[in-house]
C-alpha cells in the first residue's frame, strides 16, 4: 500500500525466465507494479519486501511445490485474502480442484493467451478494490 492507492503490486513466481520477463512487461504496461521470483525461496523473500496485492505462480517450482507456497502465503498475517492465481502445465482435472481447495482463486492451464491473463488479473484487482 506504500506505493499509493492506485498501483497494485503483483508477484510472478515462475522459473521460466522468458515467461516472467514477458508477463512482467505486459502487466507493467497495463499499469501494475510487478516483482518476479523464480523459486519458493525467492518468492518468500519478495513477499516480505513488497506485500503483493496478487500472486501469479506456477504449481511446479524448482525448490518446493507451488501448493506449499500458496498455503504458506495464505497463512501469513495480513495475507489471508491474497488472491493467488495458479498456472500449471499439469493436465489433470483434479489439479484444478486441488488448487481451489488450497485457497487459489483461479487455476489457469498453460499455454494461455496473454490477454486472458491480463483480463483475469484486472478483474480480480477490481473485485479486491
Amino acid at each position: 500500500m506504500s506505493n499509493g492507492p492506485m498501483i497494485k503490486n503483483i508477484l510472478i513466481v515462475d522459473n521460466e525466465p522468458n515467461l516472467t520477463v514477458a508477463l512482467d512487461f505486459l502487466l507493467a504496461h497495463a499499469g501494475f507494479q510487478v516483482a518476479t521470483a523464480a523459486s519458493y525461496t525467492e518468492a518468500m523473500q519478495a513477499v516480505t519486501k513488497i506485500r503483493p496485492d496478487m500472486v501469479l505462480m506456477d504449481v511446479v517450482l524448482p525448490d518446493r511445490s507451488g501448493y506449499d507456497l500458496c498455503q504458506t502465503l495464505l497463512a501469513m498475517p495480513g495475507l489471508e485474502h491474497l488472491p493467488i492465481l495458479m498456472l500449471t502445465t499439469r493436465g489433470l482435472d483434479v489439479e484444478r480442484e486441488k488448487a481451489l481447495s488450497l485457497g487459489a482463486v483461479d487455476f489457469i492451464m498453460k499455454p494461455f493467451i496473454p490477454s486472458t491473463i491480463l483480463a483475469r488479473v484486472q478483474e480480480l484487482m477490481t473485485e479486491a478494490a
Partner: protein, 700 residues
Amino acid sequence: MRAIRLPRLRKRLWLGIIALALLQVIAIIALRGTLTTTTQPSLIATIGAMSIGIIALFALGVLIDQRLCKPLVATSRGAEILSGSNPGHRLEVHTQHWLGRLPETIENLAAALSRSRHEMEEAAAAWNTRIEARKNRLETILREIREGVIVCDTEGRITLYNSVARDILSTEPALGLGRSIDEVLNAGPLHHTLNLLEPTSNNAAKSGPADAELVCASTSGERLVRCRVARLYNDDPDTAGFVMTLQDVSRQTREALRRDQALRQAIESLRNPLTSLTTANESLRVAQREGLTDAAETFAAIVDEESKRLTDGFGTLSAETASMISDNWRLDDVHLGSLIDGIKDSPQAEHLPRLQCRVDVWVEAEPYLLSQVIEALLNRLADELGVSAVALTGREEGSLVYLDMNWSGDVVASDQIDRWLDAGLEDVGGTVSLREVLQRHDTTVWSQPDLSRTARAMLRLPLPGAPAKTETSTALPARPEYYDFALEQDAPVLGARAEAPLQQLDYVVFDCETTGLEPSHGDEIVSIGAVRIHQGQVMHGETFELLANPGREIPALATSFHGITAEDVADAPPVDEVIRRFHAFAGDAVLVGFNVAFDMRFLKLKQRRCDVRFDHPTLDALLLSILLHDHTGEHTMEGIADRLGVGVGGRHTALGDSLTTAEIFTRLIDLLSAESIYTLHDATSAQEKMVEFRRQQRAF
C-alpha cells in the same frame, strides 16, 4: 536221488501197496513157523495163494499208477502250466487212463480262459492306445497352446507345466515339478482366488464360480502375470487340485505405464515454451506498437528461443509416439539363412531373381515383416532393374549383421530406393511401409558398388545381430580331484528325508566354474549350472545356467578349463546375486555334484554375505562311483560316464557337466541298492565312510 522223488499221490499209492505186501510177507513167515506135518498141505496152499496175492497186489499197483495216478499228476501239472504261463500247453496224458473226459475238459477250460484273457488284453491294449492318444493330444495341446499352463495338486505342488509357462516364468528359478507354486507366484492373491473357488457350505460343491482371474507378480517381482485359475474336483487325490493359465502382462503393463508417463511428460514439456512464446509474442506486439525498440528486440529474441524449444519438444513427442507404434512388434532371434530359404520356397519366388544364399547368421528381427521387406526389395530389383540373379551373404561385425544382396549391374539411386521404402507392404494391407519396418529394426538400406568385384553392385541392409548361438566343444584336461574334508564335519541335518528311498527324493545336480581352486584366497565363481531330478527323472526342461561377474580377472589357466573370459562376464550379474538365484532354484532339494565338496566350499564361503544358507544334504557322484567301482582307477567324469553308458555333452560348461553328472547319478542310485544302500541316510553314511577311506589313503 532225484529219480525216486515221486509225486505225493504216487508215493502214497506205492507206500500203501508195499505196506500190504509186507503184511502178507510177515503173515507168510509167521505161518511157516507153525508148519507141522498135519497142516503142511493146506498151509503151503495158503502161502502160495498169499504169494500170488502179493504179485497181484503189485500188478494192481502198477495198473492204478499207470492209468490213474500218473495221468492225474500229469493233468495237475499241465493245469498249473495252463493257468499260469502257457495257455496253449497240451496235457501230456497217455491215451489209456481212467480219468474219463477230465483232461479234455481241463483243456477246454484252459482254452476258454485263454480266449477271455486274450480278449481282456486286447481291450486293455485298446484302452491303453486310447489313453496314450489322449495323453499325446493333451501334450500337443499343452505344447502348442500360446498360454502358459500350470497344474498343481491340492497342496499347491506343481504336477505339470508347459514350455510357455516356463518361458513366461523364466525369471523364477523355483519353477519345477514337485515344487510349491508359492515359490513361483506371489502367494497372497493366488490363495485368495483359490478360496473364492472353494465350495462353501452355502454354495454346494461344484456350484461356485468355475474359474477366476487374477493378476499377480512372480516371487522375484520381475514378472506380472494374468492367471485364470480353475479348481480340479476329483475323488482321486492324484488328479485333484487346480489348473491355471498364464499370460505375461509385465511387458504390456510396464510399457503402458512408460508410454503414459512419456506422453504426459512430452505434452507438459510443450506447455511452458508455448506459454512463453505466446506471451513474448504479445509483448513484442505491444513493444512495437509503443515504439519500444529495446523491449521489442528482447521479445523477438525470446520468440526465437522458445520456437526452438518448441521444435525440440515436438521432436521428442514424435519420437515417443513412433516408438509406441513400433513397440507393438516383438523382435525374436531369427536365423537369417532360414528366413531367406523361406523366401526362396515361397509361391512368390517365381517373380524374384534367382537367389544364391550363403547366410549363416542370427539377427534380432520381426521375422515375418523382415522377410516381407527382403522379398519386396528383391522384387523391385527384378522389376525395375531387370536383375536376374542375386547373391545373398551375411556377415557379422560387432553388434550388427550385414545382409548384402549382390548382383551384376549398376547401383540403385538413393531417390529410387526412397520410393521403394515409402511403398506399403502388400501382405500387411499396405499399412506398413518398408521404411517403417526398417526403422523398427533401427536400420535402413542403401546401394553401393561391390568394391571387391567390378561391374557388380549391392544393396546393403544392416540388421541388429542376435547373440551367438554356436556351442564350442573342445577337449580340455579335467579339473583335478579335490576334497575339502573339513567341510564334511559340519554335517547337514537330514530330517524326515533320512529314511526316504533315494528314488523318491528331489535332487538338484549342479556345477560351478571358477577362477581357480582357492575360494579362501579370492577365487570366485564365474558360472553356475544346475538341473533338477524329480522322481528319478533328469528334468531337462528345469535347468539353471547363469554367468557371474567375479569382480576380478579370470586367469588364463581357468579360461583354458571352462572357456569363460572377462568379456563374457562383463555384463553378467555379480556373484552374490547369482548365488541367491541358485539358492532359490535349489529350494530344499538334496544337492548333488561331481566332487561336490569343491563347489560347496565356494557356496558356503559366500552364504552369510548372500544372506542364504546352504545346509542341504549333499551327495557326491564321484564318491558314490568310487564306492561302487573301487576296482577301477578311472574316476574321471568321462570314465564314469563311459562305464555307465552315459553320453557326455557340453563338458566344462557348468550346465553340461551338471547334465552329465545327473545322468551318472540316476544310474548310480539304481546300482546302490545292490550294495544295500536304499535311503538318503544309507547314502550319506556310505559317503562319509568313503571320505574317511580317501583321507586315510591320502595320508599314505
